[in-house]
């Protein structure tokens, strides 16, 4: 029986709560793993929670106009919107979100919507470092969007649909049906784009702690920063679930979802700890080179 709209909203709230906590723990555990690689003890796994509490408990804050406040709102709306139109667990009533109301194109739009909103808000802050961070971020985003869009086109051609639930359904029945097995080039292009999307090394120049203080959110503080930190968890979770659905066969229960998304996110750490940082011009050249060619090849394979 189809649940009522109110019940579905309740389910979506549960789903959002789970992915937020999962995202926060994921960020914390990855920071811990990075610390182990560097021979440190590292911060506690629950450190992201404490940081959010502390940011929200600040006693005063400074605003720079309406758009400045709307920046984190757009960012959070982008994160939640991305997640709301992806089925987190295939076949689950609680975790399917509103995936039947939107398709892949809407999700792709939401992924970039938040970043554009944040760019407008950060620009209103008036800090020169914000502007530098925004220009770097948008330049890099334009570049990694190319291989990502190509691999999404390849997936859409291969399965003949833009509906994410149908794409997951087509991959059920074992490893041989995953996109990873049927069109590995699309997965490679998308994973390289994912490295750029996540902002870890070698594509961490947007945030660039130390030389450009913290990138676009330089002026954001207090509860606005708390919102951005929460969004980071939601957005990371949403992107991981999207990748799992498109390329790694989706998940039919929560443990499989956790294992698959953890491993996908682990690619970031694996690459990030091994390679130094690219400059913006280098990363743009990189994305428009080999990954784009791989993306084109994946589209050709899907057509043939």
């Amino acid at each position: 029986m189809e649940p009522s709209v109110l019940l579905r909203i309740g389910y979506a709230a549960i789903s959002l709560f789970v992915i937020t906590n999962y995202g926060l723990l994921l960020i914390g555990s990855m920071a811990r793993i990075s610390a182990k690689v560097q021979g440190r003890v590292g911060q506690p796994v629950w450190q992201p929670y404490i940081d959010i509490i502390k940011s929200s408990a600040k006693r005063n804050s400074v605003g720079h106009g309406l758009m400045f406040y709307l920046g984190p709102v757009f960012r959070l709306a982008g994160g939640i919107g991305t997640y709301m139109f992806i089925p987190a667990v295939f076949g689950s009533v609680v975790f399917r979100n509103f995936s039947d109301s939107g398709d892949l194109l809407l999700v792709m739009y939401f992924i970039f919507f938040g970043q554009l909103g944040m760019a407008l808000g950060a620009g209103e802050g008036g800090h020169p470092y914000s502007a530098i961070g925004v220009s770097r971020g948008l330049a890099q985003m334009t570049a990694f969007e190319v291989p990502f869009a190509l691999s999404v086109i390849a997936v859409a051609i291969q399965y003949g649909t833009l509906d994410i639930t149908s794409i997951v359904a087509a991959q059920q029945g074992g490893f041989a049906h995953w996109t990873l097995a049927t069109n590995p080039l699309a997965v490679i292009a998308a994973i390289i784009a994912f490295l750029g999307m996540s902002g870890h090394n070698p594509f961490s120049v947007v945030i660039a702690p130390q030389e450009i203080p913290i990138g676009p959110p330089t002026e954001y503080q207090s509860n606005l920063l708390g919102m951005l930190q929460t969004n980071r968890a939601v957005f990371n979770g949403a992107k991981l679930v999207l990748y799992m659905n498109l390329f790694f066969g989706g998940a039919t229960n929560i443990p499989v979802m956790v294992i698959k998304t953890f491993l996908i996110y682990f690619i970031n750490i694996f690459v990030g700890q091994a390679f130094p940082r690219f400059r913006t011009d280098q990363s743009i050249r990189f994305f428009l080179g080999v990954p784009t060619l791989i993306g084109i090849a994946s589209v050709l394979i899907a057509i043939l």
């Binding site: 920071a31 610390a35 560097q38 021979g39 440190r40 003890v41 590292g42 911060q43 506690p44 450190q47 404490i50 940081d51 509490i53 502390k54 940011s55 408990a57 600040k58 006693r59 005063n60 804050s61 400074v62 470092y129 702690p209 130390q210 203080p213 913290i214 959110p217 330089t218 002026e219 954001y220 503080q221 207090s222 920063l225």
Partner: protein, 209 residues
């Protein structure tokens, strides 16, 4: 925000040219009441477990701040991490002696930080001038210009001493005794008079919010 803010007299901002005064805020800082009871204790615990450090590395003491990030000392395990923008950081570390020129930047950065904010002054130069006690262009006591929560004595203090200072700061925060922001607002006129006494070319707003 509240009516208390409106009762304070606007600042003159006399250091700025008249045509620029409209660009800057003329409100003096005000005191903020802590939250009630257990909630404030919880907040203080979170504040003490998440210290974001703005390192003001113009004195020689800053060289001892860097090793804290390395695997040998690893300050991350105490929830301490560097945060290079004053807007987001909660701990201001004065790394050694402060010349009059640097003091100007220290005041600006300190006032831009969001409360509650804490100050760690490291090295003997911040306490009594240290080896620069008779210098013509360094200040002797940093706590006459901004409120200081923890001093770490030594010339230079070792990274272990710094870690111990940070742990002391955590204890003070958990006790709810680190109210430097309110102290600054309460004694704003005194601090401002001291600052203007040494900074002769005052060409910034009286309060850099």
């Amino acid at each position: 925000m509240s009516d208390k803010k409106n009762t304070l007299a606007p600042l003159a901002n006399e250091g700025l040219p008249p045509e620029e005064r409209g660009f800057f805020c003329d409100a003096a800082p005000r005191e903020y009441a802590p939250a009630q009871g257990v909630l404030e204790d919880f907040y203080n615990w979170a504040r003490s477990q998440s210290l974001w450090v703005l390192g003001f590395g113009t004195g020689c003491g800053a060289i001892e701040l860097r090793p804290l990030m390395t695997s040998r000392f690893d300050m991350y395990r105490y929830g301490i991490q560097p945060r290079p923008t004053p807007r987001q950081s909660s701990v201001f570390v004065i790394g050694g002696y402060a010349s009059v020129k640097t003091l100007k930047r220290i005041v600006r950065s300190y006032e831009q930080m969001m409360g509650p904010k804490f100050v760690v002054a490291l090295g003997s130069c911040t306490i009594n001038g240290g080896m620069y006690w008779d210098s013509y262009n360094t200040i002797k006591r940093i706590d006459q210009y901004i409120p200081v929560d923890v001093y770490i004595a030594g010339c230079m203090p070792r990274p272990e001493a710094l870690l111990s200072g940070f742990l002391e700061l955590k204890r003070i925060i958990r006790e709810g005794a680190a109210e430097g922001q309110n102290e600054y607002a309460r004694n704003f006129d005194w601090y401002k008079a001291n600052q203007k006494n040494v900074i002769k070319d005052w060409n910034m707003p009286d309060y850099n919010w």
